[in-house]
Structure formats: structure tokens, C-alpha cells
């Protein structure tokens, strides 16, 4: 067990514990913060796996974007200090049961399976490579998905604007 391993376990623990807390705590604001930490934990794992670019994106988009968005929306819709209403216990049990079943099922399959590995050499995951691949239209380049996602973002933007900006008509 070397340092790297320890870091991994710490990150893993942080991710899972924060994730768990994020879905169980009854303080909504705290939940958001736990979520943020969980996401950061995931980013840490990316770092640990030496996928720095992804880790950066994770932090920028998730921590910087989505988490902030969520926190804003919490402010918009809720008094931050309020506790969330309690869920009925039977539903909790059912939810936990369902989640656990799924988890068990997947884990059994995963541990029962021997994954193949490629024999080919590793490509270097650099920002340059990623960028080049992202914009190339040949050699398995990702230009097309890039375009699609841009359309998606456009559509999402339009949708958001229409839906969220209906204030003026509210009186009529």
C-alpha cells in the first residue's frame, strides 16, 4: 500500500461518503455542498488516473457550472436553512432495496467477469491530442458529435430561455 493507493482510497471514500450524504441529508444546502465534494472526489480520481484534462473539465463544468446552477436554483426556490420534509420510511426502504439489488446484481456480474485488455499501445492523452481528435472528421474524429452537442446546447438554451423567462406574461 503506497501513497498513491492511500490517495485513491481517500478519494474513493470522499466520493462515496459525500455522495451518500448528498442524497440523505435533510439540509438542502448541505446536500448541494456534499454533492460538490463528491464531484470533486471524482475529479480527484480522474487526476489519480492521470486524465488531467477530464479532471479539469469535471471541476470546471460540474463544480463550477452545474453545482453553482443547482445552488442558485436552491436559492431561488427554497429558504436555504429549511430542512427538507421527511420521506416516508417505507419508500426509503423500497428505494434502498431497489438500489441495493441493482448494486449487488451489477457487482456480481462485474466480479464474475474477466475483462479483456487491448494489446495495442497506449495513446497519450494530451490536450493537443484531445483537441485534434475533437475536431477531425476522419480517423475516428469527433467533429460530428461536437456539432451535435452544439446543436443540443443551442436547443437547451432556447428552451431554458422560453421556459424560465415567462415572467412578463404571468400577470395577464
Amino acid at each position: 500500500m503506497n501513497g498513491s493507493d492511500i490517495i485513491f482510497y481517500l478519494l474513493a471514500a470522499m466520493t462515496l461518503v459525500c455522495g451518500l450524504l448528498a442524497v440523505t441529508t435533510r439540509h438542502i444546502f448541505r446536500a448541494a455542498v456534499f454533492l460538490l465534494f463528491s464531484l470533486i472526489g471524482v475529479a480527484g480520481i480522474y487526476f489519480w488516473l492521470q486524465y488531467e484534462f477530464i479532471a479539469a473539465v469535471q471541476i470546471v463544468v460540474y463544480a463550477g457550472g452545474i453545482a453553482v446552477l443547482i445552488i442558485f436554483s436552491i436559492f431561488l426556490t427554497q429558504q436555504a436553512g429549511d430542512k427538507l420534509p421527511k420521506q416516508r420510511i417505507d419508500r426509503k426502504i423500497f428505494g434502498a432495496l431497489a438500489a441495493f439489488c441493482g448494486f449487488a446484481l451489477v457487482m456480481i456480474q462485474v466480479y464474475g467477469h474477466t475483462f479483456f485488455e487491448t494489446e495495442e499501445g497506449e495513446v497519450t492523452v494530451s490536450v493537443f491530442n484531445i483537441g485534434k481528435k475533437m475536431l477531425s472528421i476522419t480517423d475516428g474524429g469527433y467533429a460530428l458529435p461536437f456539432e451535435i452537442i452544439s446543436m443540443l446546447l443551442l436547443a437547451a438554451m432556447i428552451g431554458c430561455i422560453v421556459i424560465a423567462l415567462r415572467t412578463k406574461k404571468e400577470n395577464s
Binding site: R91, F94, G95, A98, A99, C101, G102, L105, Q109
Partner: protein
């Protein structure tokens, strides 16, 4: 002889039916009677001509089929043919049928005058005549059945002629349904016979079955069902049909009720012609009955004998004059039936056959006469009940005399027609079956008694109280009396026809039989009956009541026709309606239909009960989603690998 003449005999009445039925009401309402009568007259003349031609041609009478049209083919050999079968009995019958029908047509001109549905009446009469002629001329077993049914329906129509009278409607229904029930037997009998003998044609049928050692005959005898050969079943079933139509015990219940029809109709259908169709049918198949299935012929004899005495007893107690005549008809047909039953095939033993046909002929005359006479009386009195009558001999002399002749004829008093035919029957019975002979003797005494009871009650007894009705003060004019006179002639003289010469089982003429020593007993019994009736009914007195009282239980039973009607009513109402019909309807409504409705209701109920699935809670949806996914995964990973 051209075929058209044979065809015209039945088809002229048919033309009358169509013409009067379709246009009578609109175009020639009052002339319709004459039209019908005229057509009938022509038909009668043709019939006589044909019969004369046939009987005068040779002395041995073959079975000819001058006309034959294939109507419906079932298989190579089996088909329904419409044809004319020419043999002694059919020739005799067409004369009887057209003659009586003509008489009734003429009589009805007076009797039915002024009726609202006068054309309809005549068209129905014509239809009946057509059907009856078709029946007697049939050359094919199935053709007989077809006209048999048509006869039934015309009978229905005529009984129900007064359709707004519920009793008439009920009687018509009863007549039809009871005979239909019997016809079921006939039909199945036909099926059996057709199947075993592979033909429906009378000529072929009789030829193949009666010729010893023929393939069909042996195979028919070989295949048995419930211990009897197929052919036995066949003829027995056919006899059931005949018994129904001829009102034999116990299928007789419709006949008395059938008197609801107009009296001329009763004369034609329920006395002279249609009711003897059963006898005719047995006579038609007599060779088969006699040679192949003698056991069935025994049944025929017994049924006839029982019917004869049974009906005679009831007739003694009834007061409705038409019903008395109806029971007498039944009784006389019983005679004909058992005459066939006791007969054998060929030579002297075939006497019963001849006698039966002879009696059929004479009976047609005097029974038609009796009915028509009764019709005149009823026309005059406006009642059917004996109690309303009496002392009418002065008011209606012609009727009186003709009625008396008919009564003497039926009572078997020489030299009237009934005497001769009845003597032959008794002789045949004497030779064939002694018990039946004694029954017949007793019956003949009873016959004389109840006929003269009727006669005296109408024409003698108490003096007639007039004035409780208006209208006819006469006997109905010559148009009604003419047929009476003609028929009286027949009733008086037809006994002298040498029947045995023409009609016999095997084509060899029979000598006329007349044994004085043999005739004494029946005539004496007849006279005894007459005197008994005279003693009781000639003058108004209380002897009948006393006698009835002394016979208490038996009298009551006889008066109630031995409760046969009630038994039938019980069977139909209680058993068929309540135990079969009602449960069937209930079953259909509740079980069969219920199952379908149940399927529908269950679907709706299930639909209602699972609505909670769609709870509107998105998290519940997600749970179903997740369980669905996990379930599928487990199913395909672990169970259906």
C-alpha cells in the same frame, strides 16, 4: 293417356289456390266460390276419367308411373321425384278425394256464403285438395312426406280459419304440432328406409325389399338397432307418422279439437280424406309391412283396435255433435287400421287390406254426409251442443233422412255401405286375430249406440225451441242439400261395389265375401245399440243420467276423454316448457351470455384495480423502471440462460 291429364288433376286445385289466394279478395270476391268449385269439378271429372280408364283397361292392375320429374337429387339412386303413381288404391283415392272435395265445395257455397274471408276459404280448400291429391298420387316416399306436410298445413289453415277465435287458433296449433310430432317419426322412418334400401321410389322400394333374397332386404334385416332390424324401425317410425295423421291412440288428441274449423272442412279433412292418409300410407307400403316387418303390422293392428274401441267409448259420452263425429271418425279409422294390421300378403289373407280400403271408401261417403248434415243442423241451430237440439226432424226433413241413412251405414245395418265394408273387416279380423275381432264387435255395437244417440238427440228427443236465433229458417237451400243427397246415395249404395276385384294385395281379384251366419252377430249388436239409444234418447227422460250415475267413475273418465289431454298438457307444459325450455333460456341468458359479460366485466375490473400503478409519482415510476430492468437482467442471466 297424355301426362298432362294426370298433372291437371292436382294442379287445377292448385291453380285455384293461387288464383283465389292472390287475387280473390280484390277481384272476384263473390265469384271465388264458383271458380273454386268449377276447377274442382273439372278435376273430379278428370279423376274419374283417369280412374275409369285405369280400372277398365285390364283386370290385373299394375303400378304405373306415367309422370315423373326429378325434383331433388340426393345421390345416385336416392332422389325426391315428383310423380304420379297409378295403382288401384291411388286411383280409388283420387276419386274419393275429388268427389268429397267437390261436394264440400258445393256445400260451402251455401254454408260459407257471406263470410268475410270467403275467397280465402276457397283458396285454402283448393290448397288442401291439391295437397291431398299430391299425397295420394305420390310415386316417391319423400313426395308423400312433402304432401303429407302440405296437407297438415292446409288442415292448420282451415282449422284456424276463424283466426280471431282463440279456441280455433289453439286447436289449429294443436293439430299441427301433434301431427308434426308424428311426422318426425315418419321423417326418420324415411331416412332409415332410404338408407337401407337405397331408394325412395315406391316401385323400386317395394320391388327390392319384397323380393326374397334381394341384397337390400337382407342387409336391412341384418343391421339391427336395439334388437330390431333397421327396416322394422323404419316401418314402425313411418307408422307413427301415419298414426299421427290418422289420429290413432295416443296421438288422437288433436282430432276432436280440430272441429273448431268450419263444418264442411271437418267433413272434408277430418272425416273423409286427410285423416285416412295414415291408413293410406300403411296401405301404400303394405307389402313391406306385411312381408318384411310383420311385427310392425301387429302393432298397426293393435293400435287400430285400441283406437277403435277407445274412441267409441268416449263418443258415447260427448255432447258436442261434431266431437262425437270426430271420435267416431277416429274409431272408424281404427277399423281401417286394424284391418290392415290383421291382413297378410297375397290371396285370401289379403282380405283385410281390401276391407280396409273398402271401408275407407264407404266411410268417406257416410262420414262426409254425417258432417255435412251436422253442418246443416249447426247452421240452423247455431250451436254444436246436443242439448240445444232436439225434434228437428220436422224442420229439416232432407237432412233428417240423409242423416239417418248415414247413421245406418255407419252402424253397419244392411244394405247400407258400411255394412259391407265392416263385414269384410270383421271377417278379416276373425281370420287374423280373434281378440281384435271381439274388440271390433264390441265397437260396432258401441258405434251403433252412439250414432243413434246422436241421431235421436238431434232429431227426436225434446221438441225444438225455436226463436232464440234469427236468420236461416230453412235447411240452407238446394245448394247445401244437393251434396247431402248425392252423398246419401253413396252411403246407401257404395257397398255394392265389388272392391275385392279391384283392390287387393297381389293383383289377383278377391271374390266378394258374404257369409250370412257370420253377419248375424254384428248386425244384431248394431241393432241392439240402436234400440238402446232409442230407449234412452228418443224421448226426453232421465234414463241417461241414471245410467251415467251408475257407471260413475268410468263415465266420468270417458267424458273427460280418459284424461289424455291432461297428460299431454302435463308433459308439454311441465316437462318440456319448464324442465327443458326454461332452463335452456336461463342457461343461455346466464351462463353463456354470463361468461361473455364476465369476460368484459373482469377486464374492466382489472383495469380499475391496477390504476394505482399509474400513481402520478415519478419516483414510483422510477422504481418500476429499476425493478423492470433488474428483473429482466436476472431473468436472462440466471433463468433463461
Amino acid at each position: 293417356m297424355p301426362a298432362i291429364i294426370y298433372i291437371l288433376i292436382p294442379f287445377l286445385p292448385l291453380a285455384g289456390f293461387v288464383l283465389l289466394g292472390l287475387f280473390g279478395k280484390k277481384y272476384f270476391k263473390s265469384a271465388s266460390g264458383w271458380i273454386g268449385t268449377l276447377l274442382m269439378l273439372v278435376s273430379f271429372i278428370l279423376a274419374v276419367y283417369v280412374a275409369y280408364d285405369y280400372f277398365s283397361a285390364t283386370s290385373i292392375f299394375p303400378r304405373n308411373v306415367p309422370v315423373k320429374y326429378t325434383w331433388l337429387v340426393f345421390s345416385e339412386n336416392i332422389s325426391i321425384d315428383m310423380g304420379v303413381l297409378q295403382d288401384p288404391i291411388s286411383m280409388m283415392m283420387i276419386v274419393v278425394v275429388t268427389f268429397i272435395s267437390l261436394m264440400v265445395h258445393i256445400y260451402s257455397l251455401g254454408y260459407m256464403k257471406g263470410e268475410e274471408r270467403y275467397p280465402t276459404y276457397y283458396s285454402f280448400l283448393s290448397l288442401f285438395t291439391f295437397s291431398m291429391l299430391g299425397l295420394v298420387l305420390a310415386s316417391n316416399l319423400f313426395q308423400t312426406y312433402i304432401f303429407w306436410e302440405l296437407v297438415g298445413v292446409s288442415s292448420f289453415l282451415l282449422i284456424g280459419y276463424y283466426y280471431d277465435k282463440p279456441s280455433a287458433v289453439a286447436a289449429a296449433k294443436k293439430a299441427f304440432i301433434v301431427t308434426r310430432f308424428a311426422d318426425l317419426g315418419f321423417l326418420i322412418g324415411i331416412l332409415v328406409i332410404a338408407n337401407t334400401s337405397d331408394t325412395l321410389d315406391y316401385n323400386t322400394l317395394i320391388a327390392t325389399l319384397t323380393s326374397t333374397g334381394s341384397e337390400q332386404a337382407s342387409s336391412a334385416a341384418a343391421s339391427t338397432f336395439l334388437g330390431a332390424s333397421a327396416l322394422t324401425w323404419g316401418t314402425a317410425l313411418i307408422f307413427i307418422g301415419g298414426a299421427g295423421k290418422s289420429a290413432m291412440f295416443p296421438l288422437h288428441i288433436w282430432l276432436p279439437d280440430a272441429m273448431e274449423g268450419p263444418t264442411p272442412v271437418s267433413a272434408l279433412i277430418h272425416a273423409a280424406t286427410m285423416v285416412v292418409a295414415g291408413v293410406y300410407l300403411v296401405a301404400r307400403l303394405f307389402p313391406i309391412f306385411s312381408i318384411n316387418t310383420p311385427a310392425v303390422l301387429d302393432i298397426v293392428g293393435w293400435v287400430g283396435a285400441i283406437s277403435a274401441v277407445f274412441a267409441a267409448i268416449i263418443a258415447c259420452t260427448q255432447t258436442d255433435i261434431k266431437r262425437i263425429l270426430a271420435y267416431s271418425t277416429m274409431s272408424q279409422i281404427g277399423y281401417m287400421m286394424f284391418a290392415l294390421g290383421v291382413a297378410g300378403y297375397g290371396g285370401e289373407s289379403g282380405l283385410g287390406y281390401t276391407a280396409s280400403m273398402f271401408h275407407l271408401f264407404t266411410h268417406a261417403m257416410f262420414k262426409a254426409l254425417l258432417f255435412l248434415g251436422a253442418g246443416v243442423v249447426i247452421h240452423y241451430v247455431h250451436s254444436n251442443d246436443m242439448k240445444d237440439m232436439g225434434g228437428l226432424r220436422k224442420k229439416m226433413p232432407v237432412t233428417h233422412i240423409t242423416f239417418l241413412i248415414a247413421c245406418l251405414a255407419i252402424a253397419g245395418i244392411p244394405p247400407f255401405a258400411g255394412f259391407f265394408s265392416k263385414e269384410e273387416i270383421l271377417l278379416a279380423a276373425y281370420n287374423g286375430n280373434t281378440i281384435i275381432y271381439w274388440i271390433a264387435l264390441i265397437t260396432s255395437g258401441l258405434t251403433a249406440f252412439y250414432m243413434f244417440r246422436l241421431y235421436f238427440s238431434i232429431f227426436w228427443n225434446k221438441p225444438y225451441q225455436a226463436d232464440h236465433h234469427s236468420g236461416h229458417k230453412s235447411e240452407g237451400g238446394w245448394i247445401m242439400l244437393f251434396p247431402l243427397l248425392v252423398l246419401a246415395l253413396g252411403a246407401a249404395g257404395s257397398g255394392f261395389i265389388p272392391f275385392g276385384k279391384y283392390i287387393n294385395t297381389d293383383g289377383i281379384p278377391l271374390e266378394s265375401h258374404f257369409h250370412l251366419q257370420f253377419s248375424i252377430l254384428p248386425v244384431a249388436l248394431g241393432l241392439a245399440g240402436i234400440f238402446m239409444a232409442m230407449w234412452l234418447y228418443k224421448k226426453q227422460n232421465n234414463r241417461p243420467e241414471k245410467l251415467a250415475a251408475s257407471l260413475n267413475g268410468f263415465y266420468k273418465a270417458a267424458y273427460h276423454k280418459f284424461y289424455i289431454d291432461e297428460i299431454y298438457l302435463f308433459v308439454t307444459k311441465k316437462i318440456i316448457f319448464n324442465l327443458i325450455g326454461r332452463p335452456a333460456a336461463w342457461f343461455d341468458k346466464n351462463v353463456v351470455d354470463g361468461l361473455v359479460n364476465l369476460a368484459g366485466n373482469t377486464t374492466t375490473a382489472v383495469s380499475e384495480s391496477i390504476k394505482k400503478l399509474q400513481s402520478g409519482r415519478i419516483q414510483q415510476y422510477a422504481i418500476y423502471f429499476l425493478f423492470g430492468a433488474i428483473g429482466l437482467a436476472i431473468l436472462f442471466i440466471y433463468i433463461w440462460k
